[in-house]
Structures are given as structure tokens and as C-alpha cells.
């Protein structure tokens, strides 16, 4: 903006005119000023380190001296490292196996608490939500006490001698149990709030037509909650790719986590702690890549299945109705 000499005569007049002439520019500056703290912090402490990690992933760097170019060696080494594939499989297993239990159970619980026959709704809601506000590390340690062998609480209570935390095939299921236990309250509350947005008249109509509770849940409520399910499954998948704390705290024996139960994210930490920054960085970006692939895949398959599923339901309901009228 060019300021004419006349305007310079009085700073007050200048300010007034500037606002009169260029209110947009003044507003723009204010806009930038308001987002500046957020943006500056974000750039220096989020965007820059992420990009710098990408640069590091193509270098050899031991934390001192200078970094040397490595091309794709770090990625190549990781992809030829059997532990990478074991841990990738572990992360995918933890995700799929906990989600197929967690999401349906959370939905059923939301349906039950919402149903008219249950009293004390807010008390039930608080109790089911409670694990969500417990420190993750502390509950992982509590699960360690529960599933210790030979003298854990579960073995003692049930008179068993199961090696929950030392037989790694079983340990995986303990981790999954922890993930379900801990995540249930969160998705339960999300589903519960989703359910309140459904018009009760729709369900009442189905009830009068003689649809039972199960039928209503499957054919009417679930399809109407499609977006909530999509959201739950995608967000749960994204957070599952970054899974670290629960298996690391729960399944570590004597401070060391065996690769056969470790999630992929621990490759970032382990390599960092042995000062292989390039390798650690490559693991970090592979983890990000995995997150993108998984969420796109989930999103895509959900839309595909959702469409065909909805039409299946529609046909089923339509067919029934036709029969009834006949």
C-alpha cells in the first residue's frame, strides 16, 4: 500500500484513513496475529521436526559428527529386517483383533444403556467411562499384577497356572484385553451420543410393525449410525498404528520388550536409543506411511461395503414389506 504525503501529516488521520481505505488488510494482519502463536509453535515443533525426520531417514547419523548421505539404505535395511515384519504384523494384529471386539461391544452397551428398561443411566455411563480417565501406564501395570505368572491375581482367583505374560502367543491376547478394556468407555460414549441424534419416531414405527429389539438394532439403528461407525473405525485405526505404551509397559519383562510382542512404533524408539537416527527416522516415516495406507483402505472398504450393505438391508426390508401386504 502506498501512503500519500497528505496522509503522513497526521498519524491520527492516517490511521483513520487506512482503516477506511483498507479494512481488509488491517483485518488480515489481525487474523495473522491471532493464528501466529499456534502457527509458529506448529511449524517449529511439529512441521519442521517431521520434515527433518524425513531428511534424516536418508542419512546415516549417530548423534555426533556430521551426517552422511545414505540414499534408501535405511529403508532397505528395515525392510530386510525380520523384526520389522514381525512388529508390523503385531501392530496390525493388535488393531484388528481389538477393534472387532471393541466396536461391536461398545455399540451394544450404548444400545443397552439407552433402552427404556434400564435405570440409572448416568451412573452406568460414568462407570463404563471410568477406565478412560485412568492413567494408561498405571492400568498397564495393574494388568501386569493381574496377569503375572505364576502368582498373578487372575491365576490365583481362578486357580490357573497360565503363563499369561511369558508365553507370547497368550501375551498378545492380554494386550488386546487391555486395549478393549481401556477403549470401551470412549467409544461407548461416542455411540451413546450418536444414538441420541436418531429420531425415536423411526424406531417406534418399526416397533409397532412388530420388529424386535435385535431386528431394530441391526436394520434401523446401525445403518443410521453409519457415519459414527465410519468415524470410530477410522480414528481407532489411526490411533492403533501409533500404539506403543500398552504393550511396552504391560509385556516388558525386566525392562525389555520382546520383538514378538512389540508394536512397530517401538522400532523408532529402539533405534533412537542405540543412536541410529537414520534408521529410527526411516521407521518413523514407514509408520506414517502405514497409517495413511490403513486409513485410506479402511475408509475405502467401508464406503464400498456400506453401499452394498445398505442396499442389501433395503432389499431385505422391502421384500418383507411386500410379503406382509400380500
Amino acid at each position: 500500500m502506498r501512503i500519500s504525503p497528505v496522509n503522513r501529516a497526521s498519524s491520527q488521520a492516517r490511521a483513520g484513513r487506512r482503516q477506511g481505505w483498507h479494512p481488509r488488510r488491517a483485518a488480515s494482519l489481525k487474523g495473522y496475529a491471532f493464528i501466529a502463536p499456534f502457527l509458529v509453535l506448529f511449524i517449529f515443533f511439529s512441521a519442521f521436526p517431521d520434515v527433518y525426520t524425513l531428511v534424516l531417514s536418508f542419512q546415516h547419523y549417530a548423534g555426533y559428527g556430521s551426517a552422511t548421505a545414505a540414499g534408501i539404505q535405511n529403508y532397505d535395511a528395515l525392510l530386510h529386517y525380520p523384526v520389522f515384519w514381525t512388529e508390523l504384523e503385531n501392530t496390525l494384529e493388535y488393531w484388528v483383533l481389538h477393534a472387532v471386539i471393541l466396536i461391536p461391544v461398545a455399540f451394544v452397551l450404548a444400545l443397552v444403556v439407552r433402552s427404556w428398561s434400564v435405570r440409572g443411566k448416568s451412573a452406568w455411563r460414568a462407570i463404563i467411562f471410568l477406565p478412560q480417565v485412568m492413567s494408561i501406564v498405571a492400568v498397564s501395570l495393574a494388568f501386569q499384577v493381574m496377569f503375572a505368572s505364576p502368582n498373578g491375581a487372575i491365576n490365583q482367583l481362578l486357580g490357573l497356572h497360565v503363563a499369561w505374560l511369558t508365553d507370547f502367543a497368550i501375551t498378545k491376547w492380554v494386550v488386546i484385553a487391555l486395549l478393549v478394556w481401556q477403549g470401551l468407555g470412549f467409544w461407548f460414549v461416542v455411540f451413546l451420543s450418536g444414538l441420541t441424534s436418531i429420531d425415536p419416531a423411526v424406531e417406534e414405527a418399526a416397533m409397532i410393525d412388530g420388529a424386535g429389539a435385535f431386528r431394530r438394532a441391526i436394520s434401523i439403528v446401525a445403518p443410521m449410525m453409519k457415519n459414527v461407525f465410519l468415524f470410530a473405525i477410522v480414528i481407532d485405526a489411526i490411533t492403533s498404528m501409533a500404539l506403543y505404551t500398552q504393550p511396552t509397559v504391560l509385556a516388558a519383562t525386566q525392562g525389555v520388550l520382546d520383538p514378538s510382542v512389540a508394536p512397530l512404533s517401538s522400532l523408532v524408539v529402539v533405534n533412537l536409543q542405540s543412536s541410529s537416527f537414520g534408521q529410527s527416522a526411516a521407521a518413523g516415516w514407514l509408520l506414517f506411511l502405514l497409517t495413511v495406507i490403513v486409513s485410506v483402505a479402511v475408509f475405502g472398504s467401508f464406503r464400498f461395503l456400506g453401499r452394498s450393505g445398505a442396499s442389501r438391508w433395503r432389499d431385505a426390508i422391502g421384500g418383507r414389506r411386500a410379503k406382509v401386504t400380500r
Binding site: 502463536p37 502457527l39 509453535l41 511439529s46 527433518y52 501395570l141 518413523g284 506414517f288
Partner: protein, 287 residues
Amino acid sequence: MTAAAGRGRPAGRSQTRALLARVGCYALLVFVAVIALYPLYLVIANSLKSNTAVALNPSGFPAQPTVSSYSQLVAAGQLRSFVNSLIVASTTTVGAVFISALAGYAFTKLRFPGRAVIFAGLIATIMVPIQTGIPGFYVEFAKLHWLNTYQVQIVPFLAPVFGLFMVRQYLLSVPNEIVEAARMDGAGEWSIYWRIIVPILRPVLAALGVLEFLMMWNSFVWPQVMADTSNVAPLAVTLPTLTDRTLGIVPLYGEIMAGSVLAIVPLIIVFLRYQRAFVSGVTYGNT
């Protein structure tokens, strides 16, 4: 069910079915409640036993309740870790709420070139796992001499994208006329933000504060890598490392459970007091 009975079904049968359904519902809820609360019971009960009593009888009620585990916990310097957790989580929460609200206001109620592009760019990063940037962060912080400090645990979390998103979603439903009317009356942007927007945002800021506090209280991988020395490390990092001072690797479960009480109970008290903010935090951010 009375409607169904009125439409000619045998009343007795449908009443039995309703009763069965009801009993089934309550049985399921009681079952879930027991499972949800059992680890909490276990932590509290075992925190009142000695380390050896936990090893011998982990599931039982404490036969001779003792606070020895708590005094050992204090002797091991864990109160410091607890205070570290509090300092980090509360400072970050206050800062992040303020900064997110500021930016969220600008992204909805102020116009400036690049607004949509910048916002979209920020939202796109929500998929980046926290571990991805850790190597880059580590080298950056090593150069800044920030490793093993409070600020390394606080500053990177002052600009949460999910917080910005929550504030923006909420403000989109607030009519622009409120802001424009104030502007007509000659109010500056700052006083509009502070006197009008912040009070309107109160519920969503409470929810965001609760979420941010929970997230910071639970942060583990970050302080484990960036700040694991005892003078700054939070409880989450120090608790799993509580092992026998002479035997080394043997975990002291009495002490660990007492520490877990410290890590769990304050948050539960806050939750029971501000339940609404917690629950709405989940639903605001996510539906």
C-alpha cells in the same frame, strides 16, 4: 411392550420376555461394571500391602493393611515425579487451550488470505503418529539443549490441531453477527475475543482442557525418550522402573501400585466432579 400386548399377543408371554430382556440388560451391565472397576480395586487393595504381600496374595483384600508401600514410594522420590506430571500437564493444558482458542477464532471469524489453505494443511497432519517426528525432534532438542527439561515436555504440545478443530467446529455454529455487531460498536479484535468469544467458548474449552490434560497425563513415549531423568520425568515414566534397589530387576509391586494410586485417583476425582466436561470432550471432538 404394553402396546404389543394390546395388539393381541398373549400378555403373559410378552411380559416374561420383557422381564428376561431387562434381567439380561442388567446382568450385562453389572458384568461390564465389575470388569471396568476390578483393576481399580486391585490397584488400591495392593497399594495397602507390602511388596512381598502383593507377590504372595495379589488378588486378596489386604490382611494387614499398611502404608509402608506409600512411605517407600516417597522415599524413592516419586512425589517429585508426581509433581513433574502435574506441572507439565497443567501448564500445557492452560497454554494449549488459550492458543487453540485464539487460532480457532481467527480461522472462523477473521478473514485473511490463505485461511482455508493453512487450515486444511494443519488438519492434514492429524494422521501423523507422534513417533514419526521423534528422531527429528530429538536432534533439534539436543541442539537447543532442551533434552531433560520441562519445556521439552510442554512446548511441542501447546498447538494441538485437534484443539483447533474443536474450537473451530464450535464457532462455526456461532453467528457472525455477534462479532460484527461488536465491531460496529468499536470493539477491538482482542476485546471481542476476550469478552465475547471466550465466554461463548467456555463449554468447548472445558472439554478441550480435559482432553489435553488427559493426553498429557498419559504421555509416555515422549518423556521416555526426551526427559527421563528423575528431576523432570513424569510419573508415567518412573513408575515402571521401580525395581528392587539391591536385586535390580525385581519390580516392587506394592510400591508400583501405590504410585498407580497417585497416577489414577486424582484424575478420577476430577472426572467425577466434572463428568460433563469429560464426556462432552469425547463427543465434541469426535462427532
